[in-house]
């Protein structure tokens, strides 16, 4: 069972220290990423999903800091690894695809140099010709013509650049690819093709993908499981079909209803009341309680833990007896 899990996040907290005080962009998040799955991480802007994605590679700079938690990747705790050894993991074992393909490639380097650099950074013994051969095979596999490898990024379209970004992750057979809103800046047709490709690659290379997005449709299309984040915390986690069919957390329920659906003829689109909380002064108890239609007294005081409510489906909500029971168990223990 434990072998089934590629990346285990335990109680991860990421803090931004600003002049106005510290802000927890990710707070006490625990989840497992299973081998070979596509895990969709959804949430609205500013809920901390990109911060979480970067934290998985310890890519933080400046004001951001991981203040708590363990990151177990493939049997190793990355938090105990010295920061100077992290570059060996980055690229080689965990790859990342960024949101804006227009800016995520070095404008003064050819595509070829991007890929060979990645290969040779981690495997310096590989000769230039071998690295080039590998790079050419790779881009061809991703549907970019071999000749285009000598192009500069600005000579390529957005979809092609995004495929180049993927090829960087694939060039060293990274086990985990963190895709941070990879399709946000692509139009729908290119987006669909890109998602198809992603799914195909996942099968072919046995990739594990963490797909960070605010687009629920994208998650529904290709993910195996879905994690819903709200205000720096996980609200719900479960199989994508279960969550879409029976969302447990009130936030997830509201989220599902906010998505335009062509089949339903309910007139006006559902609009969630209120606004996401200011993370520098989060509300006490459940973060969602000021907007929750089912708010109870306990919600205003106690933070609900993320617990299984039905089968494999986890939710952090006091509405469910199993959540209440688990927290009472802990209190007695």
């Amino acid at each position: 069972m434990i072998d089934n899990i590629l990346y285990s996040i335990r109680n991860l907290t990421v803090e931004y220290t600003t002049r106005a005080g510290s802000v927890k962009a990710v707070e006490d998040v625990s989840m497992d990423i299973r081998r070979g799955e596509i895990l969709g991480l959804v949430g609205e802007s500013g809920c901390g999903k990109s911060t979480l994605g970067k934290a998985l590679m310890r890519l933080h700079t400046g004001p951001a800091r991981i203040t708590e938690g363990e990151l177990w990747f493939d049997g190793r705790d990355l938090m105990t690894l010295p920061l100077k050894d992290m570059p060996d993991i980055r690229g080689a074992e965990i790859g990342m695809v960024f949101q804006d393909p227009m800016t995520s490639l070095n404008p003064v380097q050819r595509i070829l140099e991007h890929i060979t650099e990645t290969i040779q950074t981690h495997e310096p013994e590989i000769s230039d010709t071998d690295a080039r051969k590998r790079a050419e095979e790779l881009v061809e596999r991703l549907g970019i013509r071999r000749e285009r490898i000598m192009d500069y990024p600005h000579q390529m379209s957005g979809g092609m650049r995004q495929r180049v970004m993927i090829s960087l992750a694939l060039s060293l057979r990274a086990k985990l690819v963190i895709a941070d809103e990879p399709t946000t800046s692509l139009d729908v047709i290119v987006e669909a093709k890109f998602l198809d490709l992603l799914k195909e690659l996942q099968k072919e290379f046995g990739l594990t993908i963490l797909l960070i997005t605010h687009n629920i449709g994208v998650v529904a299309e290709i993910s195996d499981r879905i994690a819903v984040m709200y205000a720096a915390k996980l609200a719900e986690l479960g199989d994508v079909n279960d969550v879409f069919a029976h969302p447990k957390h009130p936030y997830t329920q509201a989220l599902m209803r906010s998505v335009p659906n062509i089949k339903l003829d309910s007139g006006e689109l559902y609009k969630m009341a209120g606004a996401p909380p200011d993370l520098s002064h989060p509300p006490a108890g459940c973060r969602f309680h000021p907007r929750c239609p089912y708010v109870m007294d306990i919600c205003r005081v106690e933070v609900p833990p993320l617990e299984a409510v039905e089968g494999d489906q986890l939710a952090a909500c006091w509405l469910y007896p199993s959540v209440l029971a688990k927290s009472q168990e802990k209190m007695h223990a």
Binding site: M57, L59, P87, D88, I89, R90, G91, A92, G95, M96, F98, Q99, D100, T103, S104, L105, N106, P107, V108, Q109, E117, T118, T121, H122, E140, R141, L142, G143, I144, R145, H154, Q155, S157, G159, M160, M165, L168, V190, K193, D196, L197, E200
Partner: protein
């Protein structure tokens, strides 16, 4: 299966704009393409570049172009451009076969040739000396010829020339300028001007841009001065670049207290008025080329530092730098392959404008007598020198001044023009 993946339009017609067209080709073709998009600007850049290349060639081998050395005293003082120096010249009857002083030589037993000169003019002495030298030479040659002219002195030029017309004397020796200036040629149509007493053509020895107050050739000093100007301009800019760019990269990349300290130092330097700072540095260090370069370099280090630091700050936040870290690149690689190449174009832009500025500052220091030892051929020194004689010899200050203007204009025009061609996006701002 993969073929179907790439159904994206490959050859979709794209609106051709000057920007996208320029971006698609290499540097060399870009220059020629630029002509289409930039119109008149292109010609400015071309002319400026040709001038810059010419200045550089002259600076490398001034000896090929300059007729004299930089310090050689080659003629009379204050000779205007195009004017000939006054040299003793032979005036002979038009039908005479005599061309040179040497032609007056006769066998020892024959009567000595008589030559007319004017009293109070140094031609008599010069003739005597030259004749003696030739005589000495002839004595060592076979043929038994001797040259011991009998010198007849007259009160005026007219009298001396009349004597030649009358046949009293075989020839007259007068200053060449006199013959040209006072219309003597018209007055004595039966006489003609032969060579100078040293055997040169009488109109030789003119100076295109005249001579200065101690008889040096202004043109030669101008050409030799190019070397100093460009050495000062380039060296100080390069020194400033070599210090400013790495400091800027370092400070911008690591940030923190080091960055603040460096920026404080650089901003304090920057706050000084440029020339005054350079003056104080050279005043302390003393005049020499090396010191002037150091002084000007200190002046420009903050320029490079600020530009590079600012660019580094913005480039390091680019997603591609984060992407580079996400593929496992280390700081050194990121600086080298991601930040430096993206920062360097803006450095190239300031460089050529900076060279022009440094030349100007260098000339300014020399003008004030602080830059270089006064024996060196330098435009600033020549301007300072010419300023004292601006009424007697306008050419002494004018030509070095024009040279400074030309070189500064050429460098800045080339720099700014190339910037527009290589970074078409900047043009819009």
């Amino acid at each position: 299966m993969t073929a179907t993946k790439d159904q994206l339009p490959k050859n979709a017609p794209e609106a051709v704009s000057w920007e996208s067209e320029l971006e698609r080709v290499g540097f060399v073709r870009r220059i020629f393409l630029a002509r289409r998009w930039y119109g008149a600007d292109w010609w400015f850049v071309t002319i400026a570049s040709v001038m810059v290349v010419a200045f550089i060639i002259v600076a490398i081998v001034p000896g090929w172009f300059a007729p004299y050395g930089p310090d050689a005293i080659v003629g009379p003082r204050f000779l205007a451009p195009g004017e000939h120096p006054a040299v003793p010249v032979l005036i002979v009857p038009a039908d005479s076969k005599v061309n040179d002083l040497k032609d007056l030589a006769v066998p020892a037993d024959q009567p000595r040739p008589s030559v007319a000169v004017v009293i109070g003019v140094p031609t008599g002495g010069a003739l005597n000396e030259q004749a003696k030298a030739i005589d000495e030479q002839l004595r060592n040659e076979p043929g038994g010829l001797r040259l011991r002219p009998q010198i007849d002195r007259y009160a005026t030029i007219d009298q001396a020339l009349q004597a030649v017309v009358d046949g009293t004397d075989l020839a007259a020796v007068i200053q060449s300028t006199e013959w040209e200036k006072q219309g003597l040629a018209q007055k004595f149509p039966t006489l003609r001007e032969a060579n100078t007493i040293t055997g040169e053509i009488s109109t030789a020895g003119g100076f295109l841009l005249g001579t200065n107050d101690i008889g040096q050739d202004v043109l030669s000093r101008l050409l030799w001065g190019t070397r100093i100007a460009l050495i000062v301009g380039f060296s100080s800019s390069i020194v400033a670049l070599v210090f400013g760019v790495p400091l800027g990269l370092f400070a911008g990349f690591i940030g923190g207290p080091m960055d603040r300290l460096l920026s404080l130092i650089m901003d304090s330097l920057y706050a000084f008025p440029g020339l005054i700072l350079a003056i104080s540095i050279t005043a302390v260090l003393g005049p020499s080329i090396l010191n002037i370069i150091v002084a000007i370099a200190v002046l420009y280090v903050p320029t490079y530092y600020r530009i590079v630091r600012g660019q580094t700050l913005s480039v390091k936040e680019e997603v591609y730098v984060e992407a580079a870290r996400s593929i496992g690149a280390r700081s050194r690689e990121i600086l080298q392959r991601y930040i430096f190449p993206n920062v360097i174009p803006s450095v190239a832009i300031i460089f050529s404008v900076n060279v022009a500025d440094a030349i100007l500052t260098g000339a300014g220091l020399s003008f004030l007598g602080l830059g270089l030892p006064p024996t060196i051929a330098d435009w600033g020194i020549d301007v300072a020198r010419g300023q004292r004689f601006i009424q007697t010899g306008w050419w002494m200050i004018t030509y070095p001044g024009l040279a400074i203007i030309a070189v500064v204009l050429a460098f800045s025009m080339m720099g700014e023009g190339l910037t527009e061609i290589f970074n078409p996006k900047l043009r819009e701002r």
